[in-house]
């Protein structure tokens, strides 16, 4: 890029070249500055400040104009220093920068390395309470991403209400555990089964829908579940939520400071709250890996191929004798089941749930993870979850600006890799019965 600019500049007399470029450069910078102004007026110019007991508006017009000025000067400088317009060059640079993921052998070592790191993470010297909490959160989203990947990535059914199954799982778990006094390990499969049932219930009315229409209906379904949880006081305790959800136990051993049958007492350790956190970490790690393993296996079975075929061409599927109704419903049900498991874990970890935790933004984040990771790719989803959720935590200090950073990062990733971090699809079978090794954890390359 720089070389190209160099040769042209050497070719023509510098002064005339500069003059001829002056007018378009100013025009372009002016347009950019106007766009910057239009954006920064609503974003920056007004601010609410608390004065005593009342909120007042603080005017910050100077900020908007500073932003505009900065954009103008910066854009002008870029225009004059280099050939061509800036926008196309930025995308050209991004195009060239497709270095990120070397094509072959990548999934082969990356996935095992990531799993190995995940297994030893709690015993690393830097692993404190904060790191473990963030890791548990990330793994929950990895699991949710993998669950939604079945519905969106494999079967191609755009589901904007996935959080509904997360909520059903969490509430089923909480209610079963409290009212029937059942432990974590018995309530977990029941909650998963209930979520799968709700997956079927949602699946039936939307069988004939695809694309945008399906997205709208699933979005509504997600909201309906939340509103029901919010208003069904008798069962769900409404907006106050449910507290006192039992914590998971290890073969009956509890993670408590005092009392009989505690983990610390049994193993002769001194009590540390970190024990429980590490235990939770391993539970979600195992749940997530099971989700991944089952998905990878299913993908290679006739049902998995039928899902992908359904994503590619539903009419052709029907002409080949595939019952698309059953195929879609299994995708919904299995995806919902994993969402339900993740919800159960969430409830058991928090000990408290309320409808606040199951808003649309959760669905959006999970969908963003799947899309960003690359539809259908297991390892891509894991990486995207780490980037998104980890990034959220990393930029916590930036407070309100972290959404801005987050949005920018997403725009850049989508420009850089429009089909997600890992866009290549691994075949489920090769002629001669050979399996594709990197596929073992991934659909990577």
């Amino acid at each position: 890029m720089a070389e190209a600019a160099q040769t042209t500049r050497d070719g023509a007399a510098p002064s005339t070249a500069l003059v001829s470029r002056l007018a378009p450069a100013f025009k372009d910078a002016g347009i950019a500055a106007l766009i910057a102004l239009a954006l920064s007026v609503p974003l920056l110019s007004e601010r609410t400040v608390q004065q005593g007991s009342s909120l007042v508006l603080q005017n910050r017009w100077w900020l908007a104009f500073t932003a505009m000025g900065l954009v103008f000067v910066g854009r002008l400088a870029l225009n004059l220093l280099r050939e061509g317009d800036v926008t196309s060059r930025v995308s050209a640079v991004l195009d060239q920068a497709k270095i990120g993921l070397p094509p072959t052998d990548f999934g082969r070592w990356l996935a095992p390395a990531m799993i190995a790191f995940a297994v030893i993470l709690p015993f690393m010297p830097f692993s404190d309470r904060y790191i473990m909490d963030v890791s548990i959160l990330v793994l929950t989203y990895v699991m949710l991403g993998w669950g939604l990947n079945i519905v969106v990535g494999l079967a191609g059914l755009l589901d904007l209400g996935y959080v509904a199954f997360y909520a059903v799982g969490a509430y089923s778990f909480a209610l079963i555990a409290i009212h029937f006094d059942l432990g974590f390990w018995i309530s977990l499969p029941i909650a998963g089964a209930l979520a799968a049932l709700w997956g079927l219930i949602l699946g039936f009315p939307v069988l004939r829908l695809r694309g945008d229409y399906l997205a709208i209906v699933t979005l509504a379904f997600g909201e309906i579940i939340r509103v029901v949880l919010l208003n069904w006081d008798d069962l769900t305790n409404g907006p106050n939520g449910i507290s006192g959800i039992p914590r998971p136990t290890l073969f009956g051993l509890q993670f408590k400071a005092f009392g009989d049958d505690t983990f610390a007492q049994f193993f002769g350790l001194s009590y540390s709250p970190l024990h429980r956190i590490i235990y939770l970490y391993y539970i979600i790690l195992i749940l997530a890996l099971i989700t991944c393993l089952i998905t990878i296996r299913l993908r290679r079975l006739p049902i998995g191929r039928a899902w992908e075929a359904l994503r590619e061409d539903e009419i052709a599927c029907r002409s080949l004798g595939i019952n698309t109704t059953n195929t879609k419903l299994t995708a919904f049900a299995i995806g919902a089941m994993f969402g339900g498991f993740a919800g159960s874990f969430f409830a058991a970890r928090q000990g408290f749930i309320s409808p606040q935790s199951f808003t649309f933004i959760e669905s959006a984040i999970i969908l963003a993870i799947v899309v960003l990771g690359g539809l259908g790719s297991q390892i891509g989803v894991a990486i995207a979850a780490i980037i998104l959720i980890g990034g959220f935590e990393l930029f916590r200090d930036l407070e309100q600006y972290r959404m801005l950073v987050f949005g920018l990062a997403m725009v850049f990733i989508m420009v850089w890799r429009p089909r997600g971090l890992i866009a290549t699809r691994a075949p489920t079978i090769l002629a001669g019965g050979k399996r594709d090794p990197p596929e073992t954890v991934g659909g990577a390359q």
């Binding site: 089952i294 296996r297 299913l298 079975l301 006739p302 049902i303 191929r305 039928a306 992908e308 075929a309 994503r311 590619e312 061409d313 009419i315 052709a316 599927c317 029907r318 002409s319 080949l320 004798g321 595939i322 019952n323 698309t324 699809r425 075949p427 489920t428 079978i429 090769l430 002629a431 019965g433």
Partner: protein, 304 residues
């Protein structure tokens, strides 16, 4: 003497009528397709050929009429009236089976009645490999073998064997259509003519009794369409299946068909052997408007 397709039909279409709102796409159409025959359905654009196809393969529910698929001997024909009366979709006996296709959804037409089809605009699963395309076509057999995924998840041997057999069958068909080396390529990356052949191979992987091809030669060059003729003839000879095809390419139609049905404006205007149809004035009129002499006469009139 009754023609051979009336003596032993695999497919009998009776009084088929299809209306879309006020539009009458197919009007009281009746014809038979003989067992082991290549039957061509031809006609000008908009004659209703694809609509007939969609009715036969279950994609449309006909407004009126009956579509009977018969497998095996004639013994079962005696049950036709009872079957129609009963409201059931099919009857299967030792000696043969009858299916009323107009009552079935498209996936059952394929799975139970064993009618396979291809599409005018190729509908491959373009992101998946060629081999995967052919395995999806064997979905129902494999699904049963995988114990509805339960056996497959735990890696049962019976499923692995079934899958190996399915792969073998798929590779056999890839060889038949000359694409053995392309099994692991994404179907969408193949050349147009190759995609057409993959679609036929995929349809054959459903192990059909009747193969319906919607313009299989569209977009093929002369050599490819000659190869297609050879392929279709070999399918008929070796697999003992019947073929029903829609085609505009007269080289293909006249070269390989045993029986031609001509449609125009949703009505049958001719029905017979290629020779009979070619000489039928109604067909010539439908394709060319009127015969040449009339055109010449008209031209002279205008000139004078």
């Amino acid at each position: 003497m009754a023609s051979r397709w009336e003596r032993d039909p695999v497919l009998t279409v009776e009084h088929l009528t299809m209306r879309f709102g006020g539009l009458l796409a197919v009007d009281n159409l009746s014809f038979s397709a003989g067992r082991g025959d290549i039957t061509a359905l031809i006609g000008p654009n908009g004659a209703g050929k694809t609509t007939v196809f969609n009715c036969i393969t279950g994609f449309y529910k006909p407004s009126e009429g009956r579509i009977i698929l018969k497998r095996g001997g004639d013994g079962v024909m005696g049950e036709l009236a009872a079957l129609t009366e009963s409201g059931r979709r099919f009857v299967e006996r030792e000696s043969g089976a009858l299916y009323l296709l107009e009552r079935m959804p498209e996936n059952q037409v394929s799975q139970t009645a064993q009618v396979a089809r291809t599409f005018q605009n190729i509908r491959l699963f373009s992101g998946m490999t060629v081999l995967e395309n052919l395995l999806v076509a064997q979905h129902n057999d494999l699904m049963t073998a995988s114990g509805f995924s339960i056996g497959g998840i735990v890696g049962a041997k019976s499923y692995r064997d079934a899958e190996a057999t399915a792969v073998e069958f798929a590779l056999h068909w890839l060889e038949r259509v000359d694409l053995a080396g392309r099994a692991d390529d994404a179907a969408g990356e193949l050349a147009y003519g190759d995609q057409r052949r993959v679609e036929i191979a995929r349809a054959m992987c459903t192990k059909p009794t009747l193969l319906c091809l919607d313009e299989p030669a569209a977009g093929l060059n002369a050599r490819e369409s000659a190869d297609l003729n050879t392929l279709l003839l070999s399918i008929r000879e070796q697999e003992e299946i019947s073929i029903l095809l829609i085609e505009h390419d007269m080289g293909v139609v006249m070269g390989i068909s045993d029986h031609i049905v001509v449609l125009d404006y949703g009505e049958k205007i001719s029905d017979g052997t290629p020779k009979q149809v070619r000489e039928d004035p109604a067909v010539v009129a439908a394709y060319l408007g009127v015969e040449d002499e009339h055109v010449e006469a008209a031209t002279k009139e205008i000139a004078s």
